[in-house]
């Protein structure tokens, strides 16, 4: 009996995307992937991203020990055959440090985005489903929080949380959820009066079940799109904090702290700035282009508006 259960849920959940009647064969995810594949820019961005992630994750696994090893006899040597990206002021290999720093930056970007998405989705679902007075109040809270000087609060929180990677995730995630909440609430408002929700209610499903089984699957799409556009923003926030000396602390490094090191040594050893900077910018660019492509693929109508 077990395998049948999820199929029923799928059948109940999918019609909201409005696609089942038109294309019964391909699910919305498959359609989205097909549209994305036709978008050359997005695919180049996707493959660039895949390569960067493999390089960073693989690199940090391989060089985790050797990246912090100091070679004081080859301090600040420019890029060469043995050290592709040169060495820093303590003779550490910049290539290894860039890859290891990248995996920290990517990790912060992904985990903090997850935190922000979970908070935002939960908030938006509740606000949208609760309706009237509760919804009004909850959205007014979001409006007020939008007026807050965001980066100032991240700085404050990171100063107070101290040099802890875990708290850094939470601090950034706790501030970045506002737009997700708005997006999800908008989706729920459109969905909650549709027939499939009414049908579920008529069958006796409780609010929790409707939230979890019927509304959540339908807001996942927009949330994923928004998440892919949030990751670069959060990585930038982390880089800013690390640049200011408030983020990850030595001996751990991220792209932000590497760029900071490079910026203070740029006069004599510009490669310290150029290589981590180039990796960082390429990643941000790829994430943004991929996010744009995903948005266009999910909602073809929006593709020509920008």
């Amino acid at each position: 009996m077990n395998p049948v259960e999820p199929k029923i849920e799928l059948a109940l959940g999918v019609p909201a995307a409005g696609t089942v009647a038109a294309q019964p064969s391909a699910g919305p995810w498959l359609q989205m992937w097909r549209r994305l594949r036709r978008n050359t820019t997005a695919m180049v961005a996707l493959w660039t991203l895949v390569i960067i992630v493999i390089l960073c994750v693989g690199g940090s696994a391989l060089f985790f020990q050797s990246q912090v090893k100091q070679h004081l006899e080859i301090v600040r040597s420019p890029p060469s055959m043995s050290h592709m990206f040169g060495t820093d002021a303590l003779g550490r290999d910049v290539f290894q440090r860039t890859l290891c720093g990248g995996s920290i930056s990517l990790l912060v970007g992904v985990v903090a985005t997850l935190v922000a998405m979970i908070i935002g989705t939960a908030y938006g679902l509740i606000s949208g489903l609760a309706g009237k007075a509760v919804d009004n109040f909850m959205m007014r809270v979001v409006d007020i929080l939008y007026g807050f000087p965001f980066i100032a609060f991240v700085v404050l929180l990171s100063v107070i949380c101290g040099p802890s990677l875990l708290l850094l995730f939470v601090a950034i995630g706790a501030v970045e959820w506002l737009t997700t909440a708005r997006v999800v609430r908008g989706q729920v408002l459109g969905l909650k009066n549709q027939e499939f929700v009414l049908a579920a209610r008529a069958c006796g499903a409780g609010t929790g079940r409707i939230l979890w089984h019927h509304l959540l699957p339908n807001v996942v799409g927009p949330v994923v799109i928004y998440a892919s556009l949030t990751v670069p923003g959060i990585m930038l926030t982390e880089a800013v904090l690390s640049f200011l000396g408030l983020g990850v602390q030595a001996p751990i490094s991220s792209w932000g702290s590497l760029i900071q090191e490079g910026a203070s040594n740029m006069e004599h050893s510009p490669w310290l700035l150029i290589f981590p900077g180039a990796f960082f910018v390429t990643t941000l660019l790829a994430l943004n282009l991929l996010g744009d492509g995903l948005r266009d693929a999910l909602d073809p109508r929006s593709s020509r508006s920008e």
Binding site: I144, F153, V155, I160, V240, E267, S305, E306
Partner: protein
Amino acid sequence: MIRFIISRLIQGIIVVAMVLSLTYVIMALSPGSPFANDKASSPVVRENLERIYGLDKPLIVQVWKNLKSFATFDFPVSYRLKGWTVNDIIAQGAPVSFTVGGMAFLIALALGIPAGALAAMRAGQLQDRAVMMAATLGVCVPSLVLGPIIALVFALHLHWFDAAGWGNTGDWVLPSVTLGLISAAAVARLTRGGLRETLLADYIRTARAKGASERAIVMRHAFRLACQPLLNYLGPLAAGLLSGSFVTETVFNLPGLGRHFINSALHKDYTVAMSLAGLFAMLTVIFNLLVDILQAWLNPRIRLTDS
């Protein structure tokens, strides 16, 4: 209209008061004291210092006292910088941040709007692609990468300007260009997006049919409406630029509001951090209100109501 402005101002005052209280509470609840770093001071001295500044009172009393002093623009004294009031710090930092931010804002508009308009008018052509590629790249190059590169090229190699500091007449140029270029990229994208949509509207066809020149159509007819999404972005941008960019002020070593805020947060200087956060919130509220009024004035279809 008047009711709208008044209700928004009241909402703004609530936001600023909440930012002030929240900043103070976050800082006060975190471990450590503003006077803990004075290595010479014994516990007795520290306790006396805390009593003088009122830190031994209940938290709610402290918050209320500081809110009151903020409301009357009689800002409290700094806990860390001896002999400084918050007024002094703002008087010293604001000119720096306002000069750099204001010039950056002008650079962003002067560069971004024409570039975006050109791209929209030549949609799909070479100019459009070039502008959009540059703009997408510009959006993704953060100031912590662009700032040092600009300093490297124009200060350390070409010696046109000083790499850091505040004192010479040209010191605003490099930080303003850094911030301006990055903001110009976003401005260009929004201008192009808004104009492309507006240029398809019926009233633009009417203007064309009347024989208006392409230049007049874009500048006089289309831009009024096309700049609405851009204006939404410009409110927070102006507030953010005037508050002083944390990164750019660090890169170019400027004594602006952003640097003061980070130092006060690091050194648990409650009153300074709280007042500066309040100032940032106030700028955001004011610029968002200005944007709303400007949008209604440009687009007669928008009616301002207080609901």
